[in-house]
Symmetry: C2
Subunit: 355 residues, 2 copies
């Protein structure tokens, strides 16, 4: 996208010092011709730190009303309660806010946007806010959206294999510390041995995550559901424009640093063929089809981490349902799952400045 | 079960020196009053080794026809092709064979038995062979069978989180070696870094398994399915006596030493309530309901390893289907998933000797 220099919009990055903020700055540096001034904003505690963006050292400023003076677009990557308070302030000062928290995702007056799936939605934003989906939803939705456009989605059953960086820097530090503890030991072979060795050092997780899988992410909602599971269901429905879509989800944390994986059982309105599904996935923007088990090809987090697309493999037609497909999907939860989609939405809005 | 000393049947354990064999010997030692003589049998390479069972050192003998002389029950835990050759020989010599390979599981003349679910099936064995299911099927089927008995199962969608010991001792050694390699490093954060660090040391797995999840187990079957996925579908149908049951499965290996986990989306003939499902699971033999997310209670491999039951948590009714349940299930793949179920089947048969 070419933006004439005199029209380049001013960008604020709120939450520049976090995990996702770090990846955002990389992406902004790669897409260096989009923005005019870039202001880096964080909590008062982080103000004064210097971060590099587009090759220039830039001082982080504290979050106050005046940081939004003259800002055209503000990306927010902050906790829900901070976004709930500050996104409307930024919007009232004329900035279009692209928010990566859960605060506004289900607000009827806030579009929830994945540029490959529903870019049109970003143009209608009564509150001046556009929401970025949850990382788990984003790790699969580009591939699902492409299949939905062809076959018409009727049902989703999803299980996640979520990386620890979805819980922020503390998640990564916790896994690294636990790995150092278990390496070279026989831990993981008798009941409770890991729990005893790890003690209270479970970080943001309710159980040890090294040599373990933990069927919990987020907070407790009604009837035993986790907030993460509800997000995947509710956000998928909103993005796809299918408010009644049956979606069953179980979210599980695994000892992977970055890249969420999901198994997907998808049922469609019409009969599907693997051949046509593969054609769609092979040509869909933002999707890589990596699916040749005979040659050992299927996506894993180790291959996908650090890359932009949604990777899809293990494409099979359900054996007992001609309208069903089974998939295994991987997406980098810090890139497409957070920073990249935020940047893509912001670029859709930046394009309006030159339209 | 009390077996009078003079009627105690003679047992042969074929494959006594493997991972599962080791757990079998522990279980035989705990259930010490069932069997008369116990013969330990392995390949010629392992013959002469001494193993302890019921507190006594016992010499391992090489597999030959004569080892089955006078044997009442023979447990086999050997590769498929060894079982295919030797189980009929043992049966022809009068032993009832309990086989843990895949060689006979789908044979119409061989019952596939889970004592909590279909014990009656073990009595009809035209070939003198009873098959023990695959470890992944066994890690969930006791819980599913209990729910099926009440609600009538209509469909299963299953995703696995399979431990490396499902691939034998080599699987465990591979994960341990990779963990020592990655601990204290920043590996797992850039594309391909794990693959390069691990090199060819992927053991029985197609990709690095430390800090990764690998959507593959077993060998390639038609249309992109893995043998492990087909086993879960075909064996579940046979055990439950539902030959037409729709079953969708994706099998994924995770960096856990022992204990397979599965997410299960189950649809039933009639409406279900979580309350009644919990009552069934709380009272079903061989099942532990561990399900109080508010108190941080849900099963994980770290808690379940080394225990006998099938642990069930995260019990929720599907939000969009009153006849659906979501579950997270853990089972020790070496105990109930292999050795314990084999021992339980053998004990059903031993009971016939005193009937």
């Amino acid at each position: 996208m070419a933006v004439s220099p005199e029209r380049r919009p001013t960008l604020a990055v709120v939450g520049a010092t976090g995990s996702v903020g770090g990846v955002l700055l990389q992406i902004l540096s790669q897409h260096a011709d989009i923005w005019g001034e870039i202001r880096l904003v964080a909590s008062a505690r982080s103000a004064g730190r210097k971060l590099t963006v587009r090759g220039e050292e830039t001082e982080v400023v504290a979050l106050t009303e005046s940081v939004f003076d003259g800002v055209d677009v503000a990306m927010f990557d902050v906790p829900d309660e901070v976004a709930a308070q500050w996104a409307p302030i930024a919007a009232s000062k004329g900035a279009v806010v692209v928010d990566n928290s859960a605060a506004f995702r289900l607000d009827d007056d806030v579009p929830l946007v994945v540029p490959e799936v529903n870019p049109h939605a970003a143009r209608v934003r009564p509150r001046g806010i556009v929401a970025n989906p949850n990382c788990t939803t984003l790790s699969m939705i580009v591939a699902i959206g492409a299949l939905h456009a062809e076959f018409g989605l009727r049902e989703l059953v999803v299980s996640s294999y979520q990386a620890v960086s979805g819980a922020g820097r503390a998640g990564v530090e916790t896994l690294r510390a636990q790995l150092s503890l278990v390496a070279g030991t026989e831990l993981g072979t008798s009941p409770g041995d890991l729990r005893r060795a790890v003690g209270d050092a479970t970080g943001p997780f309710p159980e040890p995550v090294a040599l373990n899988v933990v069927p919990w992410a987020g907070s407790l909602r009604e009837d035993g559901w986790s907030s993460e599971e509800m997000k995947v269901r509710d956000e998928s429905r909103k993005i796809l424009g299918l408010p009644e879509l049956p979606v069953a989800v179980t979210c599980v944390r695994v000892p992977v640093v970055t890249t969420h994986s999901l198994t997907v059982h998808a049922r469609f309105q019409s009969e599907v063929t693997v051949g046509r599904a593969r054609e769609i996935l092979a040509t869909a923007p933002g999707v890589v089809l990596f699916d040749d088990p005979a040659a050992g090809e299927f996506p894993t987090p180790a291959d996908v981490v650090g890359t932009d697309p949604t990777w899809v493999g293990r494409v099979r037609r359900s054996l007992d349902d001609p309208s069903g497909l089974e998939l295994f999907v991987c997406g980098d939860n810090l890139r497409k799952g957070a920073a990249l989609n935020t940047a893509q939405i912001a670029e859709l809005i930046a394009a309006e400045f030159t339209a």
